[in-house]
Symmetry: C2
DNA sequence: GGTGATTTGTCGCTTATGCAACACATTCCG
DNA sequence: CGGAATGTGTTGCATAAGCGACAAATCACC
C-alpha cells in the first residue's frame, strides 16, 4: 500500500463541495443546480471545483456514492460475512437511501441514481464474495455480484412501489431462494 | 477608501474558525477549548490559525464582536438616527447577546466580554453621533459615546440581575432622562 | 519540587486554491 | 432571428494554507 496521504485542504474542499451540493439539493432539483451555485455556497473558486470533479454529473455520482457508502460501511464491513443478516442490512441501506433522496431533487435522473447504486452494490458484493469464497473463480463471482446488485436494486424499487411490509420482512421472504442459488455459507 | 479586496480563502478560513469556535463553545467552557481543538474542528492547520489571530483570546474577542454586530447591524444601520427606537433596539441586542452567551462557556471571562461589548457599543454610538451632530466637536461626542456604552452595558447587567420587565420597558423608563442630557434629536 | 506530556507560537519550503481572462455552449427575450 | 446574458471548462501566474520541526510555556501527576 503506497498510501500517499492526501492533503487536508483537498479533504476539506471536497467536503465543502459535497455539503453544499446536498444543501442545495434540498432547495431545488438537480437540473437547476449550477456549478456556480455550488462553488458560491462552498466558498471556493469555480476552477477549484473542476480540479476535483469532472463536471456536475461526476459530483452527483461521487456524492451519492458517499452517502450510500456511509450507510453501508459501518454496518457491513464489520462482520464481513455475506449471510442473511448482512443481506438484510444492505437492503435496508438501499431502501433508506432511496426514500431519503428520490422524492426530492432528482426527477429525470432516476436512471443515473439507479446506476450509481448498482455499481456500489456490485463492488460491495464482489468484495464480500471474494473474501468468502476465495479467488480463483473470478468470472463466476463477478457475475454473481452483478446479479445480486441488480436484484437488490430491483427489489428496492418493487418494495417502494408496492409493499407495506418492512424492508426486512420484504427481503427475508426472498432470501431462501437466493441462498439456495448462491450458497451464502461456505 | 483603498479597499484592497480580501482573498476569499481568508474569508472562508475565518468563517470556518469562528463557526468551529462557536460550535465548541456549546460543548465546553472557554478555558477548556484549545487552539488544537478549534483547528481540528475547522479542518485547518494550526499555523493558519495564528496567521489570522494573535491567540485564542483574540479569537474570543473577534468572534464575540461579530456575533454582537450581526445583531446590531441589520436593525440599526438602516435608519441611522439615534432616536428612542434605535436606543431600545441596541439595548435589546445587548440583552439578547448577554443571555445567549453568558450562561454557558465563559465563566471567568465576564470582564473580557464586558469590555468587548462596551468597545463595540462605543464605536457604534460614536458613528451615530457623528452622523447626527456633525464633526467639529470630537471630544464631546467621544465622551458621550463612552458614557452611553458604559451606561447601556451597566443597564443590561442590572436588567439581567433584577428585572422582570421586558428589555424594552426597562430601558424606556430611563430614556427621557438620558435624552434630556444628550439631545437625541437635532 | 520535578519530570513527562500537552499546548503554544514561530519558521522556511511545498502545494492547493484563487484570479482573470479566454473560447465555447446554452438560455432567454425582444 | 439575433444578440445579450449566463454557465461551462481551461489556462498560467499569484498567494493563502499545510507541513514538520522547533523552543518555550503550561499542565498533570507522582
Amino acid at each position: 500500500m503506497t498510501q500517499t496521504k492526501t492533503d487536508p485542504r483537498v479533504i476539506r474542499t471536497r467536503k465543502l463541495i459535497m455539503d453544499s451540493f446536498i444543501t442545495l439539493s434540498e432547495g431545488k432539483e438537480f437540473k437547476d443546480i449550477t456549478v456556480k451555485d455550488i462553488t458560491a455556497e462552498a466558498m471556493i473558486n469555480r476552477a477549484t471545483f473542476y480540479h476535483h470533479f469532472e463536471d456536475i454529473y461526476d459530483l452527483l455520482e461521487k456524492a451519492l456514492s458517499e452517502v450510500l457508502l456511509v450507510n453501508l460501511d459501518s454496518d457491513t464491513y464489520r462482520n464481513d460475512e455475506l449471510n442473511e443478516e448482512t443481506f438484510v442490512k444492505i437492503f435496508e441501506a438501499v431502501t433508506n437511501f432511496q426514500t431519503s433522496l428520490s422524492n426530492r431533487c432528482h426527477r429525470g435522473y432516476e436512471d443515473t441514481i439507479a446506476r450509481i447504486i448498482r455499481e456500489q452494490l456490485e463492488v460491495l458484493f464482489h468484495k464480500l464474495l471474494v473474501k468468502q469464497k476465495g479467488i480463483g473463480q473470478e468470472g463466476a463471482l463477478k457475475t454473481t455480484a452483478v446479479m445480486l446488485s441488480w436484484g437488490i436494486y430491483g427489489a428496492s424499487v418493487e418494495w417502494k412501489r408496492n409493499s407495506q411490509a418492512s424492508p426486512e420482512e420484504f427481503i427475508k421472504a426472498a432470501v431462501p431462494y437466493i441462498e439456495h442459488g448462491i450458497h451464502f455459507n461456505k
